[in-house]
C-alpha cells in the first residue's frame, strides 16, 4: 500500500475509500481487465461452497441463532482458524503475490459503528438469512425474490452513505 501525501483539505481517493471498511487494497500494477477473471474463479468456488454447505439457507441461519445446530459455528470457526494460520504464515514468510508485490495488511480502528451497525446487520441477518456474500449465491440458485433483498441492501448502503455524517461513530 502506498501512503501518498495529500493536502489536508482534499482527502485522497484512498482516504475516502478507507472509511468504514475492512478491506482496502491497492496495487501499483495495472493489468488488462481480463486478468480479473481469476477472481471470478475464486468467487465460483465460494459460491458453490455457500450453496453446497447450505450457508445460504435461511433455515441454517435460524438453527445457528437457536443453538439447534453446530453446522454454522463449525464453518465460521474452521474458516477463522485456517484464515488466522494463513495470515500468520503470509506475514512470517513474507509471501508475495504471484506478481511479486508484497502482501499488505491494514489495522482497523475501533468505531462505535461496529456496535450499532453490527447489531443492525445482525437483525437483518436473522430476518433474511443472508449476509452480503450469500445474497448473490441465493440469487444464483434461482431465488429471484432475493433480488428484492439485494436491492433493499443496496438502498440500505446508499441511505447509510447519505446520513453518514449525522450518525454516531
Amino acid at each position: 500500500m502506498s501512503e501518498k501525501l495529500t493536502p489536508r483539505f482534499r482527502p485522497s481517493d484512498h482516504e475516502i475509500r478507507s472509511v468504514d471498511t475492512m478491506c482496502v487494497n491497492e496495487s501499483e500494477l495495472s493489468h488488462p481487465w481480463w486478468y480479473n477473471f481469476k477472481y471470478s474463479v475464486v468467487g465460483i468456488l465460494f459460491g458453490i461452497v455457500l450453496v453446497k454447505a447450505e450457508i445460504v439457507s435461511w433455515y441454517r441461519i435460524q438453527e445457528m441463532f437457536r443453538f439447534q445446530s453446530f453446522h454454522m459455528y463449525g464453518i465460521i470457526g474452521t474458516a477463522v482458524i485456517i484464515g488466522m494460520i494463513s495470515v500468520a504464515l503470509v506475514k512470517r514468510l513474507r509471501i508475495k503475490t504471484i506478481y511479486g508485490e508484497p502482501v499488505t495488511f491494514q489495522s482497523k480502528s475501533f468505531s462505535r459503528g461496529q456496535i450499532y451497525g453490527g447489531l443492525l446487520f445482525g437483525f437483518g441477518w436473522a430476518l433474511t438469512g443472508a449476509c452480503p456474500g450469500p445474497i448473490f449465491a441465493q440469487v444464483g440458485t434461482g431465488g429471484l425474490v432475493i433480488l428484492i433483498t439485494f436491492m433493499s441492501a443496496l438502498a440500505g448502503t446508499w441511505v447509510y452513505g447519505y446520513f453518514r455524517e449525522k450518525l454516531p461513530h
Binding site: C23, V42, R60, F65, P132, G143, M151
Partner: protein, 186 residues
C-alpha cells in the same frame, strides 16, 4: 459424484472458505470481503454527489468479478450439484415454524416467507425488504460483514472485528428470540 451431490459438512466448507483468505492475498493482495461491493455499486451507479461514494470505483473492479463468480457458483451448484434439495432442518425449528403457518422445507429457503407473493404481506415485507435494508445499512455502518470482519478481520487479529462479530451475533439472537416471534405471527 456421491460426495459432490450431498450437502457438504462444516469442516469442508470452513476449510475452503478459510483458504480463500490466502488465495486472494496471493493472487493480488486482495482482502476477502463482500459487503463493500454494495458500496462500489452505489459509487458506480448513483453516487449522487455524496462524498462517501465519490472515489474511483473502477479500481475495485476485481470485486465485481468476484461477486459475479459467487452468482455463477450459485447457478452451477443449483444446476449440476443437486443443491435444490430440501434442507434437513432440526425438528424443533420445523415445529416452531409450523405454528406460524410456515410449512415443511421444500428447498433452501422457506417459500412461505420468501416469495414474490409474500412481499405484499406485512410479514414478507419486513423479512425481505426491511431485512435486506438492514443488511446493507448495518454492514456498511459496521465497516464490514461476516466475510470482511468475521473471517478476514479475525484472521488478521483485529479486535474491532471481534467487537463487530459479537454485535452481529447479538443482533441475530435478539432478532430471532425477541422480535421474530412477533414478526412471524403477523
Amino acid at each position: 459424484m456421491e460426495l459432490l451431490s450431498k450437502p457438504w459438512p462444516w469442516w469442508v466448507a470452513g476449510t475452503i472458505i478459510g483458504l480463500l483468505v490466502p488465495t486472494l492475498l496471493i493472487l493480488g493482495n486482495k482482502h476477502f470481503g463482500v459487503s463493500s461491493n454494495l458500496r462500489h455499486i452505489c459509487a458506480a451507479c448513483f453516487p449522487a454527489n455524496i462524498s462517501f461514494f465519490r472515489y474511483d470505483w473502477k479500481k475495485e473492479i476485481w470485486n465485481f468479478f468476484f461477486i459475479g463468480g459467487i452468482l455463477a457458483g450459485g447457478i452451477i451448484a443449483a444446476s449440476f450439484l443437486h443443491a435444490g434439495d430440501p434442507v434437513q432442518v432440526h425438528p424443533e425449528l420445523v415445529n416452531d415454524l409450523a405454528a406460524y403457518g410456515v410449512g415443511q422445507p421444500q428447498g433452501l429457503l422457506p417459500t412461505d416467507l420468501f416469495s414474490f407473493d409474500s412481499i405484499l404481506t406485512l410479514r414478507g415485507f419486513i423479512m425481505i425488504v426491511i431485512g435486506g435494508f438492514l443488511v446493507g445499512f448495518g454492514t456498511r455502518y459496521a465497516g464490514g460483514c461476516t466475510s470482511g470482519h468475521s473471517i478476514m478481520g479475525l484472521s488478521n487479529l483485529q479486535w474491532p472485528s471481534l467487537i463487530a462479530t459479537i454485535a452481529f451475533m447479538a443482533g441475530g439472537f435478539a432478532m430471532t428470540h425477541l422480535m421474530l416471534p412477533f414478526i412471524l405471527s403477523l
